[in-house]
């Protein structure tokens, strides 16, 4: 069974700064996807970024980028130029190629301070 670990329950950072959220996972599979989902306060969970394990290049979406280290089973999220709207719970998640089930970490509550 896969496990996903987020070791930072809460983080806070000043607006416009850069912040990195950590995620590690454990799996014996070679082909899989990794995701970061964002859940703003009282709002819907949305996908921030995803990474296919077979791709060596780190995924990037505007101010969001990942540092994917397959050998170390690490998948961190970097938010550059943080904005107040980035305040949310962030969940790291894993999905193997062989099924459509997501395994989530416990989440990191990120607060952006004005």
């Amino acid at each position: 069974a896969q496990t996903v670990t987020q070791s930072q329950p809460e983080m806070s950072v000043q607006e416009a700064e850069t912040v990195t959220l950590s995620c590690t996972y454990d799996t014996s599979e070679n082909n899989y996807y990794l995701f970061w989902y964002k859940q703003p306060p009282s709002r819907q969970m949305i996908l921030v970024i995803r990474q296919e394990a077979y791709k060596q290049q780190n995924a990037t979406e505007n101010r969001f980028s990942v540092n994917f280290q397959k050998a170390a089973k690490s998948f961190s999220l970097k938010i550059s130029d943080s904005q107040l709207g980035d305040t949310a719970m962030y969940f790291c998640a894993f999905m193997s190629f062989s099924n459509e089930k997501l395994t989530f970490g416990t989440g990191t509550r990120l607060t952006i301070i004005p």
């Binding site: 996807y33 709002r43 819907q44 969970m45 996908l47 997501l102 416990t106």
Partner: protein
């Protein structure tokens, strides 16, 4: 845009009641999922369905059942609600095939069982 809706944002029920949580998606997705979200535990999969009338147990199916009579609708049933089922319930859907790995979430139903 994909839209996933859930029948209620907040529900208060009494112990022993039968509870129905409904989820509807408008993008003809084959896969639908029910998760439970608890602080410090992240999201845990209760049940999922990959087609009409098909269902599979997730990680925590005990005390729950599901129904999928139409492709767009996936219901979660608490046969006899208990206080330990007080939680946030999230529904999600995804395609089979291209982009199958991305799940789209509803706004959630916060259930309180007294």
């Amino acid at each position: 845009d994909v839209k996933v809706t859930q029948s209620s944002r907040y529900l208060v029920k009494r112990t022993g009641e039968k509870v129905f949580l409904e989820c509807v998606q408008d993008m003809d997705h084959e896969n639908m999922f029910w998760y439970r979200q608890d602080p410090g535990l992240g999201l845990r999969l209760i049940y999922f369905s990959y087609d009409v009338k098909m269902k599979e147990k997730g990680d925590i199916p005990e005390g729950y059942s599901v129904s999928r009579e139409k492709k767009e609708r996936f219901s979660l049933i608490l046969e006899s609600a208990s206080t330990n089922q007080t939680s946030m319930y999230l529904c999600a859907s995804s395609l089979i095939g291209t982009d199958q790995e991305t799940q789209y979430f509803g706004p959630g139903t916060r259930l309180l069982v007294l």
